[in-house]
């Protein structure tokens, strides 16, 4: 008997086939990994199971009974719970409110807040999911938010729990804590479907693995019978070349230097950045490793002039840039790949050509006497498209109509074609498929090899390890350690990222 069985599921979005005749099954109490690259169709499949999408064809069985799931409400009542990659939590509401919304305990028609609290504390006790029921969601850490999400599912009687890339935002200790919880749940009979693209985690936690690639199912194997290598082959279907490592020794000259940079938080809360000192040399990649939300965003914004430091100085090639606005700082030669592409890096409704000059449209090359030089801008966009392998129909196409990978190539292309000596690359491959990510990493290395100074901020530890010459670890707004890459072990990094200074 299977707790859950999906047969021959097909789902199309326009011309794109997201799931192509995929079948999938998980036994009660099983931890089943759904493995695949970004865009392989894992999330789509699970969203169908949770009722967020309707499959075009195929059928779903719960405990061998055929079911129709036309919305999350159906899914919940069938005992399916899902923890989404982007948490479904209203930041302004409390933990309790977020958990009970939709299945509120009542007393005399009113919301029984006290009972809700008690229920939450009980569940949190039973599975070791520590949360403060009265805190506002915006005030708690990402790890805690995830626990809130899990409690939310459990309180609705979830017997099948879908976790969509749950470890992406967690610190190593938080990950192992999560795994403990998952094992406890599994032992108590809950089926867990674990979406991930990380092999190590798959090997560590799952009972069996189903691999998807390009919307199709590659196969299901028992974890015991799998090796990381066999899984990679199933996942990628090809092997990517290793980046040419033609590291040149960095030059002595310091390109970018941060001195005692602090950013104060909202009234009363702790500083977002606290006395950060960093320097990046020409021809060097300095990687900033850390768990998301430890000051990376503030660091990126301070360096690029989007936010004023409350204290400290930013010096580039000997020039003090502190307090200058974004335009001035970037005109000094900063290429900036922002961490939030959609929010910061582009204007979806405007054309590729317009987007190709964002941030340099005022340069005399692209505009004169306040008038944009249309032809030159279009040519510029065409060059980026050609040089950076952007798949686009025309430069007049709205940027929003491109896929995420192509958008990012466009952004990277735009930034790397502007005159620059410093590159600020923030989460440059987030959400991209392996091919695009590989390509963009190549470009970053290429920049470094041309003698540019690169500040790489990434939450992907693998990426940091692969690209950086030196690594700085940021934790709660402080740089806790900086060393050449070779001098860290992965374990050390993991511990430092979680503030365990003494463990090293």
């Amino acid at each position: 008997m299977y707790a859950i069985r999906m047969e021959n599921i097909t789902k199309r979005f326009g011309n794109v086939v997201a799931n192509d005749n995929v079948s999938f099954a998980a036994a009660p109490g099983e931890i089943h990994c759904l493995l695949g690259e970004n865009g392989a169709g894992k999330s789509t499949l699970m969203r169908i199971l949770f009722g967020l999408y309707r499959q075009d064809s195929g059928s779903i069985y719960i405990n061998d009974n055929p079911v129709t799931i036309s919305g999350p409400r159906d899914a919940i009542s069938l005992g399916i719970g899902m923890v989404h990659q982007h948490f479904m939590l209203a930041e302004q509401l409390t933990v309790t409110e977020n958990i009970v919304a939709g299945c509120e305990p009542r007393k005399n028609g009113l919301l029984d807040y006290e009972k809700a609290r008690q229920d939450i504390l009980e569940v949190s006790e039973r599975y070791g999911l520590r949360v403060d029921p009265d805190a506002k969601v915006e005030d708690i850490s990402v790890g805690q938010q995830q626990r809130v999400e899990i409690i939310k599912a459990l309180m609705r009687g979830a017997e099948v729990l879908i976790l969509d890339e749950p470890t992406a935002v967690l610190t190593p200790p938080e990950v192992s804590e999560l795994f403990t919880v998952m094992r406890a749940l599994s032992e108590s009979g809950t089926t867990i479907i674990f979406i991930t693209h990380k092999l190590k985690e798959t090997m560590e936690i799952s009972h069996s693995v189903t691999v998807l690639r390009d919307g199709k199912k590659v196969g299901t194997v028992s974890t015991e019978d799998a090796t990381p290598e066999s899984l990679v082959e199933m996942m990628v279907g090809r092997s990517l070349p290793v980046h040419d490592d033609c590291r040149m020794p960095p030059r002595e000259a310091i390109a970018l230097e941060l001195k005692d940079i602090s950013v104060s938080g909202r009234k009363g809360s702790r500083a977002r950045l606290d006395n950060v000192n960093l320097d990046v040399r020409f021809g060097e990649i300095l990687g900033i490793a850390g768990v998301d939300g430890n000051g990376q965003l503030e660091l990126e914004e301070v360096v690029c002039g989007l936010r004023r430091p409350s204290k400290g100085r930013i010096i580039m090639s000997g020039q003090d840039l502190t307090g200058l606005d974004t335009r001035r700082i970037r005109d000094k030669g900063v290429a900036y790949i922002p961490s939030d592409r959609l929010r910061r890096g582009m204007v979806g409704s405007l054309s590729l050509s317009r987007n190709s000059v964002l941030g340099m449209h005022h340069h005399s090359y692209f505009s004169q006497r306040g008038v944009l030089l249309e032809d030159i801008i279009e040519k510029h966009a065409e060059e980026i498209i050609k040089k950076y392998d952007v798949r686009a129909e025309s430069v007049h196409q709205p940027m929003g109509s491109l896929s995420g990978g192509n958008q990012q190539k466009m952004v990277v292309g735009r930034e790397l074609t502007r005159p620059h000596s410093v590159v600020i690359a923030c989460q440059p491959t987030r959400g991209l498929d392996v091919g695009a990510a590989y390509y963009i990493r190549e470009q970053i290395l290429d920049s470094r090899n041309k003698g540019k100074a690169v500040l790489l901020i990434s939450a992907e530890l693998d990426e940091i390890l692969e690209l950086s010459d030196r690594i700085a670890i940021i934790y709660e707004g402080q740089v806790v350690d900086v060393r050449p890459t070779g001098q860290f072990t992965e374990r050390e990094l993991g511990l430092l990222m979680t503030g365990e200074r003494n463990g090293v």
Partner: protein, 351 residues
Amino acid sequence: MDLERGVSKFAYSVVAVVLALLVGAVLIWASGYDVKEAYSNLFTGAFGGVYSLATTIVMSTPLLFTGLSVAFAFQCGLFNVGAEGQLYVGALTSAVVALALGWLPPVLRVGIALLAGAGAGALLGFVPGYLKAKLGAHEVITTIMLNYVATFLTTFLVKTYFKDPGPVDQTVLLPMGSRLPELIRGTRVSLGIVLGIVAVALLNHVMRRSVLGYEIQVVGQNPHAAEYGGVNVSARTVQAMMISGAVAGLAGSVEVMGTLYRFIPYFSPGYGFTGIAVAVIAGQNLWAVIPAAILFGALQSGGQTMQLFAGIPMELMTMVQGLVILFVAAPTLGRLLFGLKMRVREGGGRK
């Protein structure tokens, strides 16, 4: 590209107008009037003969400016409900300046008076722009409140400082040399309509070709990206609101200098609000403001004739205008009704 989209949107707007008129016909019929008589009056009143056409143009002229004002603000993601107030301050300023500069040659006098009107409108546009950019106060509410302030303030100023000695609170009549020249003799079709078209062309050029227009667009579509691109978001927001205010101010100037020849408190029948309807119909395409304004001018002038000779209350036209806005606001409605294929602009709410 988006022009094409603009055209399909405008074509749909025409459908929306027809649809609204159909609903209007049902209402006329249901209320016991003669639909044929009503609509034939509506149409002859708008387009039947030189005078009717001239009237349509006269009525379209202020709407061309207010519509352009609102449409321009839309492009920067701003909703300027304050065109009415900006129109009043523009009108009074132009009247006062045109009167005060009697010693200047007419061309200069008129030019300066127009600029002053635009300036006053811009000044009133500055307030909500600044409050939005610096304090996040929603421009819809602040502009509505400023409409009241502007009407009260202009009335006060006229009564206290610029009053015609006669029995009515108004300024004195502008001398010939302070007026906009008449284009068609015997009508009030003035240079204003030409200025309006020039303004459309100018702003369209600014939006499509200039750095300022580009930056304003980026701010309107995605302020975070604008910040990233080194655009001064606050400054562009304020500037866009000021430009919008200036254009609405010109609506008042042109009305005073080309049609009324003096400032009279409460002279506007809601040009600023009808301008919203014009802008909604025009959508993202500034050129489309011209036919949209003429359309509403025609509804007004034809509506008057309908009222005069068929006894149909003017409110019918108000209802038709409201319906047009609703139909245009919900393009999916058109899809439902006509199976019209058109791309819907994503993300509705402006914040």
